[in-house]
Amino acid sequence: MKKFLGAVAAAAAIAISLSACGGGGSTPTTAGEAKGEINYWLWDSNQLPAYKECAANFTKANPDIKVKITQRGWGDYWTTLTNGFVAGNAPDVFANHLSKYPEHAAKKQLLDLNEAVEKDGIKLDIYNEGLADLWIGQDGKRNGLPKDWDTVGLFYNTAMTDAAGITAEQMASLDWNPQDGGSYEKTIAHLSVDKMGVRGDEPGFDKNNVAVYGLGLENSGTGQGQTQWSFLTGTTGWTHTDKNPWGTKFNYDDSKFQETIKWWAGLANKGYMPKLETTVGASVADNFGAGKAAINTNGSWMIGQYSSYKGIKAGIAPTPVGPEGKRASMFNGLADSVWAGTKNPAASVKWVEYLASADCQDVVASKGVVFPAIKSSSEKAAAAFEAKGIDVSAFTTHVTDGTTILFPITDNSAKVDGLMGPAMDAVMSGKKDAGTLSEANEKVNALFKK
C-alpha cells in the first residue's frame, strides 16, 4: 500500500510540474526601473546583423539592459506574435507593419508612445515626411516610432536591355497609360523573346513559347498591389480608399482601377508576362535571377537580393510616368512598437527610442540594406548603396519629388485581403472580367458597415 501511495504522489508531482511549465518565467521588474532583459523581434533576416550591432551599442550605453533579438520569417511572424499576445509572452518590442498595426491597436496591444515622445523630447521632424504620423491611431495614440521606409522601382537585366538596344536613359524615362500602355508596354514587348528569338513587337512572335518575358509577375497583388500595380493606379489619380489613413470605403469599383488591372492582365495574354498559374513556386526575383524575365517591379528592400544574382547585373529604373504626368510609388513606413503587456515598459521604451534615434539608424544605414526613417540616415544609406556600386535614385526620387502614395491603413485589412486575393486572382488568370471587381468591392465595403 505504501508503495502505491508513493507512486501516486510521484505521478501527482509530475502532473503539477508539467502544468507549471506553462506559467512562470522571469520575475517582472517594477515599472520605471529601466533594467533587465527585453525581447525584440523582427522579420527581415537581411537586417539582423545591423540590429544586433545596435543592441550591442545600446547595452554598452545602458549596461543594465540586455536586448534579446529574435528573427522570424514574414509568414510565421504575425501568427506567432498574435499567439504571444494571448499567451502573455509576446516580445516587449517588435518591428511592426502598417497593414497589421490597426488590428493590434484595436485590441489594445500597443503601448501609447505619446507620453514618452513628450517626456524624452523626441523630435519628430527628423524623420522623412509623414512617416511618424502614419502610426497615430484613430484614438490619437502613437503606436510606433519610425524605423525605415520603402518605395517601388523597376529592376531590369542590363544584359537584356543592352541586347535590345535600350539605354539606361530610356529605361529611366518610360511613360504609361491604361489604353495602349505607352512606352512602358513597348519596352516590355521589345524585351520579350520567344524560343525562336523573335521579339514581342516583331511579327511571328509565338506567345505560347516564350523564353524571356518582358515583365515578371509576382502574384495578383491582392487588395494592395504594393509592388504589382499600385505604382500604375497611383498615376491615374485613383486611391485605394475614400481617405487614408482610416478609410472606410474602398474604390475597387472605380473604372480607373479596373482599366489598369485589365491592361496589366492583358500583358499575360500577349505573352509579355507569365500567366498567373506559373507564378506558384519560385519567387519572381529568383526567376529574374534565372534569366526568365527582363524587368521586375519590386520594393527597395529587395535591392540586396537583386544585386546578388551571379552573372546578372541588375539596373534600377524609376516606375513609369502616368496619365497625370507624374510617377507614383507606394510609400510604406515600418515602425517599432512596444507591446502593451510588457513586464518592463521603462526599458522597452528606452530601446524603442534608441531604435528610432540616429545612433541606431546610422548603423542600419551603413549596412546599405534599407532606407532608415531619419532623413540624415536615409542619405547615409544611399551613400552606402552607392559605395557598393548600386544607384538607388530610382527609389529616392519618389520621396524628393513627392510622388509617394501612402500605404492604405484601414481596419479589417486581413479580411479585405481575404476577399480581394481570390477576386484579383480570378481576373489575372483570365477567368473573370475586371468588371467583377465591383462585386468584390461591395463585399469589402460591407465589412465596414457592421
Binding site: 498559374e277 506559373t278 534565372a290
Partner: protein, 315 residues
Amino acid sequence: MMTTLTKHPPAAAHKAPQRPGRGRRMAKLRDVRIALLFILPAMIGLVAFCLVPTIRGVYLSFTEYSILGEPEWIGVDNYTAIFQDELFWNAMAVTLQYVGINIGLQTVIALGLALLMHRVAKSTFVRGALLLPFFVANVVVALLWFWMLDYQLGIVNEIISWLGLPRIAFFGSEQWAIPTIAFVNVWKHMGYTALLIFAGLQAIPHHVYEVASLDGASHTRTFWSITMPLLRPVLALVMVVSVIGSFQVFDTVSITTGGGPINATRVIQMYIYQKAFGESDFGYASALSVILFVILALVAFIQMKFLKGNESDLD
C-alpha cells in the same frame, strides 16, 4: 495491427485460477487501482490536450471570438452563416476531391506494394526503402516537390520541356493543383500504408492458400476470394485511419499553394486556419472545426459499420 487478427487474445492466457469471494474482489480492486495508475499519464494528456480543447472548441463555435478579448455568445449564428458561405461549400467540394484521389490512388498502390513485399521483395533493404518517404517530414516533402514541380525552374518541367511537351503549372493551375497535392501525399504515405496491409497479409494463415491451390484456383481467383476477404478488417482500419488523415490535409497545401489558385485548393483545414489565424475569426473557425469533427465521426462510423472492421472471417 496484428492483434486484430489474433484468434486468442493474449489476455485469456493470463486468466488466474478462480479465487474464493472476498479475496477475489480485493484483487480486482487492486487491479483497477494499478490500471488507473498506468492509465493516468495518458489520461492527463487526453484530458489536457484533447477533451478540454474539444469542449472549449464547441463552446467557442457559438461565440464571436477574436482571440484577444472575451468570447461573445451569439448562439447558432456561426452555423447559419456557414451554410450560406460559398467558400465553405467550395472547401468541402475541394476536400472531397482531394480525399477521393488521395485515398483511391494510395490504397490501390499500397495494396500492390504490399503484395509485392509479401511475394517478391523479401529483402529487408527493399522493404525498408519503401518506407523512406514516410520518414521525411511533411514540410520537407512538400517543399521538395514544390521545387521539383516549379513551372519555370523545376526539374520535372525542364524534362517535360526537353521532351518537347508543353510545361505544366502543377501547383498553379486550377485543374492540376489538387491532383498534384494528392499525388505528393500518396508518394509520402504509400509505403507506410503498404506496411500496414503487408502485416495483414502475413496474418492470413498459409493453409487456406494451400487449400485454394489444391482446388485449382487461379491467382486472380485466390486474390479476390481468399486474400481480399481475409484482409478486410485490416483494410477497413487502414481506410478509416487514412480517410480521417486525408480529410485533415493541411501542411502540404499551406506550404505550396496556400489555398490558391483562386479557391482551387482551399481545403477545409486551410479555410479553418485562414479564418482563425489570418482573419482572427476564432468563433467561425471553431464552428467549421465542429462541422468537420461531426463529418469525420460519421465517415468513420459508416466505414466501420459497412466494412465490418471489428470482426474477422477467420473466426
